[in-house]
């Protein structure tokens, strides 16, 4: 069996598909509103996540006077920057999804844009993981001061638990992400090479 033999299968599917699924009314409705858009489904969790990051950054900023040493103050500044950066990245990736599509381009040009954006997205994911590691460290250092203003050196079990759990989770997460993206990343790079320059 070859591709030409399968052409009939494709054509038959065409004939079978002519069941007037699209009525005038449906076509008209579809051109008016995005009633079935998935972007909204993605947007809500991203917006909630970004809002949490901004609130957390605000909370750390408001508690700034609790950090009495230069080290703690520097860590707090880093935590605020990281939290804001994560929310900005999230909003940027959402904006990219909502970006105006130039659908009149050729298919190859669209693929080039798609592949380039995909590679940029993976880079952003890598940065996000690094930021998460950094955030974990800063939050663990700031946490005892934020809740109760206690001396963290007294709580060795807290340290052990917080760093152990946080690190294991991030290690597992980063391994999963890189394994998941490795194949797709390679395919995307190959696709870019195949496209006319």
């Amino acid at each position: 069996m070859e591709l030409d033999d399968l052409k009939n299968t494709w054509q038959n599917e065409t004939n079978a598909g002519s069941q007037n699924n699209l009525t005038t009314l449906i076509i008209d409705k579809m051109t008016k509103e995005k009633y079935y858009s998935k972007i909204k489904k993605i947007a809500y969790p991203e917006i909630i996540g970004s809002s949490i990051c901004v609130i957390a950054a605000g909370f750390v900023a408001l508690s700034f006077n609790r950090f009495d040493t230069i080290v703690l103050q520097s860590v707090a500044v880093v935590a605020i920057i990281v939290l804001l950066a994560i929310s900005v990245f999230s909003i940027l990736s959402l904006q990219r999804l909502n970006m105006k599509k130039d659908i009149n381009k050729t298919y190859a040009e669209t693929l080039k844009t798609f592949a380039t954006q995909k590679l940029a997205f993976y880079k952003l994911q890598k940065i996000n993981i690094i930021l998460c590691y950094l955030l974990m460290v800063t939050i663990i250092i700031l946490l005892p001061k934020l809740f109760g203003d206690k001396n963290i050196t007294q709580y060795k079990y807290f340290w052990l638990f917080a760093s152990g759990t946080g690190y294991s989770f991030l290690l597992f997460y980063s391994k999963f992400v890189s394994k998941f993206y490795k194949k797709t990343l390679q395919q995307t790079e190959d696709l870019l090479l195949e496209l006319p320059q």
Binding site: S18, I27, Y36
Partner: protein, 192 residues
């Protein structure tokens, strides 16, 4: 007469839209809508099949169909007649399907693809069903560029039309198709 039928079929927003403009503009809009609907009906099957091939479940498929129609309508005025209307529609449909991939990759698949299974069950044609499965498997294994070329080839488009839609040379189309055919031949024989 025609105008009345169309207005009867259209929703409230459409009537509101047409009420804001002059009678002449209304007629033009109705005429545009009529041409658009006729063009969509002509290419309905391809739009549905593109949506099927680029997605993994019915929900995503419907999303792609809707997005294709939405984008086609939005750009219907900008169609510059450098190519035929059908060629332009094929290009837009393929482009939208690729753009939608970005959205789907961020969501978790919810349902397996069942539309074709149920569709074929209705037609009681097991051979067609098996062949469709083979075809889908082979198409899914291709990269996005090859996938687009094969879909247009299956639609009986000439090498020249494929080259126009995809944006590569005619010679390139021929070379790629020959390689794809060879690759698929080996894969299909391996799977049978």
């Amino acid at each position: 007469m025609h105008k009345n039928i169309l207005l009867k079929n259209c929703d409230f927003f459409y009537i509101m839209e047409t009420n804001k403009i002059s009678d002449n503009q209304k007629l033009k809009l109705v005429d545009k809508k009529e041409r658009f609907i006729a063009a969509i009906k002509e290419n309905e099957c391809f739009i549905y099949k593109i949506a099927s091939v680029y997605t993994n479940n019915i929900e995503d498929k419907n999303d792609v169909v809707q997005e294709i129609l939405y984008q086609l309508w939005k750009s219907f005025d900008s169609f510059n007649q450098k190519s035929s209307l059908n060629t332009w529609m094929y290009r837009v449909a393929l482009n939208v399907a690729v753009y939608q991939l970005k959205v789907f990759k961020k969501t978790i698949p919810t349902l397996p693809l069942v539309d074709h299974a149920s569709h074929h069950a209705e037609t009681n044609n097991n051979d067609q069903e098996d062949n469709w499965k083979i075809l889908r498997q082979q198409i899914d294994a291709l990269n996005l560029l090859d996938k687009g070329i094969v879909l247009l080839y299956l639609e009986d488009k000439s090498y020249e039309e494929i080259a126009t839609i995809v944006g590569i040379t005619k010679t390139n189309v021929a070379t790629k198709l020959s390689r794809i055919k060879e690759k698929l031949k080996t894969q299909i024989h391996k799977n049978l």
